[in-house]
Symmetry: C2
Amino acid sequence: MVKGKVLVAQGGGPTAVINQSLVGVVLEARKYAQVERVYGALHGVRGILNEDFLDLSQETTLTLEQVAETPSSALGSTRDKPDRAYCQEIFKVLKAHGISYFFYIGGNDSSDTVRIVSEEAKAENYPLRSVHIPKTIDNDLVENDHTPGFPSAARFVSQAFIGANLDNRSLPGVYLGVIMGRHAGFLTAAAAFGRKFPEDGPHLVYLPERTFSLDGFLADVKATQDRFGRCVIAVSEGIHDEAGNPIAVKLASHVEKDAHGNVQLSGTGALADLLTEEIKTRLKIKRVRGDTLGYLQRSFAGCVSDVDQREARDVGEKAVQFAMNRDQDGSVAIRRVGNYAVDYQLIPLSAVAGKTRTMPDEFIIAEGNQVTPAFCDYLRPLLGADLAETTQLRGIGNRVAKILKK
Amino acid sequence: MVKGKVLVAQGGGPTAVINQSLVGVVLEARKYAQVERVYGALHGVRGILNEDFLDLSQETTLTLEQVAETPSSALGSTRDKPDRAYCQEIFKVLKAHGISYFFYIGGNDSSDTVRIVSEEAKAENYPLRSVHIPKTIDNDLVENDHTPGFPSAARFVSQAFIGANLDNRSLPGVYLGVIMGRHAGFLTAAAAFGRKFPEDGPHLVYLPERTFSLDGFLADVKATQDRFGRCVIAVSEGIHDEAGNPIAVKLASHVEKDAHGNVQLSGTGALADLLTEEIKTRLKIKRVRGDTLGYLQRSFAGCVSDVDQREARDVGEKAVQFAMNRDQDGSVAIRRVGNYAVDYQLIPLSAVAGKTRTMPDEFIIAEGNQVTPAFCDYLRPLLGADLAETTQLRGIGNRVAKILKK
């Protein structure tokens, strides 16, 4: 085992538990005699380029444990998506600071960064162990049963729609909520988890795994409204037409792109407002409300799955154990065993880097506008303890006979 | 004490704890020998007009206790605002069904309904006890220290902004969140409660109690961005210009009004989108995100203040006790005693009906764009136990010296 420093960084969108992984790395790494220092890069790969490092060897265990419970990336994050030239600059900095162990917590773009840095080190015969630690609320990493961050975000979305359904039941009309997820519909699908009674919403769920047709959508809404006198809808921000054009973009006055070339979908209420406007004008329904769940989904303080917390901590700690005990770079993957437990494996970076997982067909009903019980079975053990339990008055058998209007 | 039936109903926007008040009424009322039945009207006053009653004497205690923990109005609600003719119809139904005790859980419009019904009964010398039970997330009832529903909504908003601040710290830029509250800024002000470190957001808070100037707003945002490299903003949906025109309406393609003549402000992302667009185009800031917290604020399942739950239960039970033991109609008011306890009083309906309370000046700083410590002192005991506790890495003293870019 090589003597040297550890460097850890956080990339991409924050999650409610990403600091658990950070703290898992730091506390485990500080135990090894060959680790001289544990550095944290501020704002991901950009902080590496700028040599913006904190010496995390100087943080107390108690502070780190409190940081672990804090949502969002404590080191800061970045949307930079490094190409090979960028990664070569990263590698120069790692060499200059005597980094022997590099851990990057992030999604599939981050795993691609780790892959290139790993290749650079090999090409130069520099002793560097590079491990990617999974994180994304989108749950879109291949080779993983699920990814840290997703269960807590799914818990938030599920509880939001339990409430939205009850609110809509109380003041009937159409309610539409837009949920994060560009290509993968897992998080949107979580909206349907909390349905309990047959008439509960969301009655309709639209995912990026299926082509979105405005006419089909309006027909679905009308049918639901006719049947229940109300309609609750969950829509992924990533819904798109047959050509793959996001519905959100079709109406935008201008389009904002990030460094990955992705069109900006979050941080605006435009999609919800377009769809509710179509329902109002074309279906002549009066009370139509649209919400965009926005950044609350990934950083809300106080709605965390304890299962997610533990697994996020575990993958950080496992990454260090893999780095110290195995002679290969890789990505930590979560595999489900039994019902319910998980196993952590170190898989090749090339197996996960830059790839996107989407919802399997068995999680979506044939009509394409609702999830299956199989999806709820998949999600149930991830959401953690103490989920909100709601009910309704039994009511139906206890109707009082009318006197004046009989 | 008159023999007869009890009728309870829920009006206006739902809250996370409105069913606690309902169950407080039902369980207490079922103890009295003179109470023949406990009816619940579906969808508020509209359900009374339609004689849509459930016999709540037939619900088990356990079901009622589970309903109490369920957000949103279990009996359904209405936006109808009855005039005298409407109230006379209500009164006819009450007479026909032998109702001797009428309880209406709602805001200031609902208290006005109770006032008119109470007057109708007196005019006809019909033995009816009518009591209004306070409820509103807006916290805008006069004569009350605060209103049931507000503490839980404030807890949600506070935790949402703790997360939004950390998210924005991780990926810097401008973040703007729009919060419910047409005339009263209490709920928007709660966004600032969770600030812990000097650089924490929301850095700016805009309330309906102060006139909103777009130029002043943009100057504030620029100054904050220049100082911190980022800016988190909380905005009330009710912000308005000098003439009282809501900023949200100035840009709406069409304007929707409810039965109270109020312009529809919630259920659309328009205000957030307008303000973020102004920031992007006029301040040339690239990363600007806007969220509208929407219906999650009042009905999210799983973010409830235990203090709020207990008080909401109490005001329901107290309403029945007042009705049984006092020879007057009225509204149950919450008064703060000591630090922290509350006392419940029965006050005249005319003292609260149709009036709106707004934030006192001592809760808003002179510049009008942030709350004072006095507001946080006021809010603290209401938010309940187990608030999310967050922290950050100590960092500053632990910076690693640069090597390549020194």
